[in-house]
Point group: C2
Chain length 313, copies 2
């Protein structure tokens, strides 16, 4: 078991994917507070919100204002999700430099989510991606339901490869493979990442968005690491899901992902201990225990310099 | 990512490691009922209880009677934990054919658990193992806290190898490596399994007892599979822990382990869907949600014959 060297970038999506399904509306001050917590814990990329019509996702109503009010920390990337040109224009107006856009690899999921077929959604997003790139924005192009669909079941790998290849040839900086319904397994993750790595430009980074719906979230992250992936989405406390796929609950937890990387000898820059307090705060606000694990148990009784991985029992 | 071929044996420890910490005492009829549930779901090895003094673990008071009352199913191994010769004699008296015995690799854990040093505990268990083997019983020798200790931190790999080698040379059928406090990581599991495989007789099987305390339980199982291990402990619902290590909560769940193997293309013989009802029953009796995942979410929308692993997106 190799490939455990270097650094890992964890994008926290608590403020977007985490909150978007919650009926309890967070104020902008509360969001700015969580943003500070994440920055202070060393999270290096934070998805702040989505530029979506508030009618669809009321929790995201203040994304524009969040970007105007946040004080950027050195070395932290603030990103957001946009769905179309209207959203892109809003993002550009508040100076966002990094954006996520995506399509679904599942016809049924695509229709339910966007009322478009996969090909229609691909055609619709292409000019938005091109405009963003033309404006000097870093674009991460995502493929939802890439590893299985709650409606359709298995998704042909070739379809995912085809979408990824076209995104890559458009010049996006990163391609994000999303296990929207939490249906992936480690062998599948490993294999598709190797195939994607061969299929897309070496300039295009690969990232994974994993859910822990069926207990395989962190195992899938480890498989991604083994395949050389070094960017992963997660959410503080393991909050999150997809509003259109009811059974898909729970991103992998940022603190668990950071802990796993640390134990494997990989650097994330995140002090996962510093996430205990914000997890507890989120649990108090949401009035339930969140699924993340390491914030609920004692810190392992060893120092970082005792962590090697290979050869340390 | 290779080594996903063949069959996997999952030993369910709900009735022993699962129940031993629970203050709610289960009746023998309730235990026999769970035993039937496990048999009917296709579990092929079941740890029925421990032959320990009821003063220490009141929940295990009826282990002898359980063995006399259970109706063995073809192809199912019924096993138990014994700590010493007194326990072995009780096990032999009720005809048990497969037993687990163990020592801790941590001096502090060993003292707290048995009031003996590691070497004293090894010397004390040796004649019991030899007597059991002489009586034709299959013996699984376990090494607790082998992958980290809540009191001592890292455990030297050489100590674990040394204990395993001596067990192997005594002729035990299987060596069980236990992550008693849930401190292991996948890289460590993979590495130690390869080293153990080289160190012990090829006649001695290797098994893993994993806890999901810090979210790495299933990832550690996948690492064990990659290293060629084909026997894993688990407990229905993810119940369990260790009474002497307070933070160590939660075996990997039998249903999640079986699901993970199935998705990876490995056969366990377990129909994890059939474990939904017993998980729900246990939750009702214990009045709390158990940590296992797959019994709480919909079945993935594909058939077994669509499961291949490699190449299936």
């Amino acid at each position: 078991m190799h490939n455990f060297r270097g650094s890992v970038l964890i994008e926290d999506e608590f403020l977007r994917d985490g909150l978007q399904n919650e009926s309890h509306l967070f104020t902008i001050e509360q969001k700015l507070n969580f943003l500070s917590d994440l920055e202070n814990a060393g999270v290096k990329r934070i998805q702040v919100g989505s530029f979506v019509h508030p009618k669809w996702v009321p929790q995201m109503v203040d994304t524009d204002e969040l970007f105007t009010r946040l004080s950027p920390h050195d070395g932290v990337i603030y990103t957001a999700l946009v769905l179309n040109k209207v959203g892109l224009d809003r993002a550009l107006a508040v100076g966002v430099k990094h954006l996520s856009m995506s399509v679904s690899a599942s016809e049924t999921h695509s229709m339910k989510n966007t009322n478009r077929s996969v090909d229609e959604a691909r055609a619709a997003i292409a000019p938005t991606i091109e405009k963003a790139l033309g404006e000097g924005v870093s674009v991460r192009a995502g493929i939802q339901s890439a590893l299985g669909c709650g409606f359709e079941g298995k998704i042909p790998v070739d379809r995912v490869i085809d979408i990824a290849r076209s995104f890559s040839s458009m010049g996006v900086q990163e391609i994000n493979i999303a296990d929207t319904a939490g249906l992936a397994n480690p062998r599948q993750v490993f294999d598709i990442c190797l195939r994607l790595r061969d299929a897309i430009s070496s300039d295009t980074k690969l990232s994974l968005h994993l859910h822990d719906t069926r207990g395989l979230g962190i195992a899938n992250m480890v498989a991604g690491l083994q395949a050389g992936v070094r960017i992963f989405d997660a959410a503080l406390g393991g909050l999150g899901g997809c509003p259109f796929v009811p059974e898909a609950t729970g991103n992998i937890a940022t603190e668990d992902a950071a802990f796993a990387c640390e134990q494997l000898g990989l650097n994330t820059g995140i002090d996962w201990h510093a996430l205990r307090a914000p997890v507890a705060k989120a649990e108090a606000m949401l009035d339930r225990r969140l699924p993340g694990r390491v914030s609920h148990v004692p810190t392992p009784p060893w120092q970082k310099d005792e962590l090697v991985g290979a050869g340390v029992g």
